[in-house]
Symmetry: C2
Subunit: 227 residues, 2 copies
């Protein structure tokens, strides 16, 4: 969407629906496409919800994004992927990605909170049957974990492709929710003898741990250098 | 459960059910109570799934544990809490907690993975109506974020208690799933010219950020000292 200015009021924002308008803390909600994409792109796992025998199921799983489509993959034998392949027209899902950025400690128990950024996507998941779309999705899944990695690994062969199912979920009914900043407090609590503030959670990764049996001469690639 | 040795084969383990026996990677599943408790206690947010109008909804939320019961709280106006209060006998939910511990980069795209620990809890959520249980639950929620914090903050007053709903979910139908260790690889891929290994994700928090208006003389409490 480069070149298309996106704002929460412009046509490029996601359209709020009954499901994406929160019943509370509405000021924390956003439908901005850039914000949604940024939150999605920073996550490693999503939590995928679906209904089985009338009850909810929530499973963590890797995902990738290509434009306005999310992809989830798994063994052809895994439950949500098998259910999607058998559902007509598809499987109703809710896919949620959450980053916990900080712990917010208030003087009052009531105002304890967390700083976070989350995206909730509602929609119908469809089995990806087009071979080219499947390859694109699998590259996106690998590049989602580490950008640039798909080009620096052996692509899936026929047997691996046949063992892997991919489902797609388009970004239509989407909202982001965020909390940032410091502590909210009742004015009369400001003089209480309790420490208050934010504990920022550590991000990123520590020094990479190479396998012991790397081929001779293999150095750590630049895209894995710890910032 | 101190003093009661717990193993995956002993009576103290959770009993597997159709919903908690995975259709694949069964060797990664565990029903060990200590492991489940440890994974739950380390998390900050869970992802709570429920069904609304036949479709799944997955929302991130704080939680706390007291023995074999999990508690989730929120505004009395929030959707899942209101739905629980109105449901008879309660609201079917699935509560999932996931830690991403490392990114596993294989020489083949297919064997890319993550090291993780997750717990999935299936059950019925009930509105907590007993005032004493509600207070205990709220303390557990605060202490879950930072152990020891509930005693070092102002407890909720009547107005705050009235505005807060708490739901309970007992740990009965529960499983943990974990992946640890290095890279799995096809033998013929070991000579490929790609770096392979694990990127361990950073844990914990960075230096606390105190509010600017702390009461005079308030020092950082010991329980917040960065290890």
């Amino acid at each position: 969407m480069q070149g298309t200015p996106e704002t929460t009021t412009g046509t490029a924002a996601y359209t709020p629906t009954d499901r994406t308008i929160p019943t509370r803390s509405a000021q924390k909600a956003s439908y901005d496409r850039d914000l949604v994409h940024a939150i999605l792109d920073e996550g490693y796992v999503c939590h995928l919800g679906f209904v089985r025998d009338g009850a909810p199921v929530v499973l963590p799983t890797l995902y990738g994004r290509v434009g306005e489509t999310l992809y989830v993959h798994g063994s052809t034998g895994s439950r949500p992927l098998r259910m999607t392949g058998q559902a007509d027209p598809g499987l109703p899902v809710c896919l949620t990605v959450t980053h916990v950025d900080g712990l917010v400690l208030a003087r009052s128990a009531f105002h304890h909170s967390i700083n976070y950024r989350s995206v909730v996507v509602h929609g119908i998941a469809y089995d990806v049957t087009d071979p080219q779309e499947k390859l694109t999705a699998l590259d996106a899944l690998v590049d989602h974990v580490v950008p640039g990695r798909a080009a620096d690994s052996r692509p899936a062969n026929k047997k691996e492709l046949a063992a892997t199912a991919v489902i797609r979920l388009d970004l239509n009914e989407v909202s982001a929710k965020t909390r940032t900043g410091g502590v909210n407090e009742e004015p009369e609590d400001l003089t209480l003898p309790h420490w208050a503030g934010v504990l920022p959670l550590r991000k990123g990764y520590d020094a990479p741990l190479p396998e012991a049996d790397l081929a001779p001469g293999i150095e750590l690639p630049d895209y894995l250098a710890v910032p």
